[in-house]
Symmetry: C2
Subunit: 395 residues, 2 copies
């Protein structure tokens, strides 16, 4: 592949994404769905004009990092503190219920195994694939609809971030039986260290940015340095603490959300997002999808897998939200918002394969889950919000 081939891919991605997004809006679907469908159309699934490649994947990663950074910048810190406990409990339920349901699904299809046997850990592993919410798509939909800053929106966002961390601990727990190198204590310690690290670093950077911002308000250096902080924290989270890079990016956003120029930074980051990186991210989800070699029995399992993964998240998060005084429709919104799965599920599947816990055929089930939840969640959220609009809405 020549260096310039990528230019044609980018041209197709941008024009295709925008065109399908406008079509989606025409049929009253969220624009994000249009962009994912553009990827399905361009990719091996339909026309096969282009496939995924490492450059597009890395741009897509930057895309979701910018989405999460922007979500962090738009966070209302006071609201986040209030919703902390609530989000934590919802996240726990959102990890626990899918984990158990996933394990049960595997056991029902392939037979129950005794405690400690190979099949038992396989079942647990299938469960742990189902745990991690991928909140990028939900954030974009809530933003598009203008509900990101509401109580429900902020609860989904915080819960999804926390659920990522809990999911990692559960995964570590399962893996620690198979892989002697994986230690639950080490991982838990790392998570705690990351929190402490973010807190200290966050405070220092917050003070530094506040100072620069007061001396040079509205200069280019502010958003550029902010993007630098975002990339650095995303890297550190993943490289040193084993936490997803998007969590690091979100925390970078939270660190800066009370700086006076937060809205200015957010605006500049958003232009980069919607002009270039976000379309690449959404299209790349579609590009990665391929159903080659899908066999009958696996198809049946995959459909079951998708249904269980989505419904268990919906029920797990939805029911527990009821305890915090959310109205019924709000509970469904929270549950629906947590349904999306993304690259974290793929990464976990990959890890399981590398350790020989599951075989490659489960990839198809995971991809199906990603694509169905990526398209289903936005549609469901939009339907819910048009039926039960949230009165405290603000863009």
């Amino acid at each position: 592949m020549k260096n310039y081939d990528i230019l044609m891919d980018l041209a197709l991605i941008m024009v295709g994404a925008k065109f399908m997004a406008l079509v989606a809006r025409k049929v009253k679907a969220p624009m994000v769905v249009g962009e994912i469908v553009a990827g399905l159309l361009l990719g091996p699934c339909v026309f096969g004009i282009m496939g995924p490649n490492s450059f597009i994947s890395q741009l897509a990663e930057i895309g979701v990092i910018l989405i999460m950074f922007s979500a962090g910048l738009e966070t209302n810190l006071a609201e986040l503190k209030k919703s902390g406990l609530r989000a934590f409990v919802i996240a726990c339920a959102g990890v626990f219920v899918p984990f158990v349901c996933g394990a049960l699904l595997y056991s029902c299809v392939y037979g129950f195994s005794s405690f400690g046997s190979e099949g038992f850990f396989k079942a647990l592993f299938i469960g742990s694939i189902m745990t991690a919410t991928s909140v990028g798509i939900t954030v974009e939909v809530l933003k598009e609809l203008g509900y990101l800053k509401t109580k429900v929106g902020q609860t989904i966002l915080s819960a999804a971030i926390i659920d990522d961390v809990i999911g990692i601990i559960v995964l570590t727990f399962v893996l620690s039986f198979k892989d002697p190198k994986t230690k639950l204590a080490t991982v838990s310690l790392k998570v705690l260290m990351f929190l402490a690290f973010s807190f200290i670093l966050g405070y220092l950077f917050y003070r530094a940015f506040k100072l620069i911002d007061e001396r040079y308000p509205h200069t280019r250096r502010i958003p550029i340095m902010a993007m630098g902080l975002c990339f650095a924290l995303a890297y550190l989270a993943e490289a040193y603490f084993g936490i997803a890079d998007i969590t690091g990016a979100y925390i970078a956003g939270i660190i800066l959300c009370n700086v006076r120029d937060a809205a200015y930074i957010d605006r500049k980051v958003n232009v980069n997002g919607y002009m270039f990186f976000a379309p690449v991210f959404f299209v790349s989800i579609g590009l990665k999808t391929s159903f080659n070699g899908m066999k009958g029995s696996l198809l049946a399992f995959s459909i079951g897998f998708v249904l269980v993964a989505m419904v268990s998240k919906l029920i797990g998060c939805g029911l527990i939200s009821k305890c915090f005084g959310f109205k019924n429709n709000e509970c469904v919104k929270i549950g629906a918002g947590m349904m999306t799965r993304g690259e974290v599920a793929l990464i976990i599947t990959n890890k399981g394969m590398a350790l020989g816990m599951i075989d490659a055929s489960y990839f198809t089930a995971v991809i199906l889950l990603i694509i169905v939840s990526s398209i289903g969640t936005p549609l469901l959220l939009k339907a819910l919000y048009s039926k039960y609009p949230d009165k405290e809405a603000s863009a």
Copy 2:
């Protein structure tokens, strides 16, 4: 290399570039120089914190494409038509003088060879490496100083674009003696076809954008579709017509420069540029620089090569400008603006190596030329403009 390693590179590039750009401004140097120096500091030349990699190179390519697209968008079409002949003649001189001087330099150092011998073509090839101006850096400096839209600025820009095309014809002429697959007639025909193609396609897209722009002014689709056009033309230029991708991007800009929302598109493209892609481009120039294995005799030749390449361009373009009624200081500005060399020189060198015309050691000379001209031109331009400010300046 893991997927997330790139995040740390990006963080360092952005923070480093901005920091050094501010330092450069402090010492009254153009900010672009600061960004290139940041690359030198980060790269193998000084601290060796990171090296060039394919992802960064591709981002850099997108960076220079966006710079040229933006330059096209800011073009005054009426002025361009007026300056057409002038720019053409200046470009011819800017190709011819360095070409001859380069060949003479080689012959002086390594001895004159008889017509048609190996040494003779080697000398011609060294000359053709010197022909292609890389205007990205000059554009950014003129923009920073606020002189891009002046008569001098537009003349430099057009001449540099034309010189790229003439340079390709000269290169083809030289190569056609060595490589039976390279045909001068084919290449000339391709260039003509590209011009015809751009003209027809350009007219169609101009009408289409005008229509969309009138119906949906100031909507996101306008800049996104424009970026799509830019990438597509950049690709087509390089893939089908053998012309540099940045020329395609510049033409895409010219096509849209009379659309009512041209300034709006330019603003959005610029945010992407200065927030992300442009720093990556300028830093990557520094990152690619390495003087490993530089030997004494080669060093002497390299220094001669750099001097001849820069002075011949300055004199070639400068003297001929005098014929068009430019004042002395304007002639020097035009000559200085055309001095920068970039990736095109590297690509030509690469081609010559692949055909066995020159050996790898000349790479060092070309890299030295790129880095010296990339830093020297901005400094010289800024000095010239502060001594002889242009009265028709406009940002």
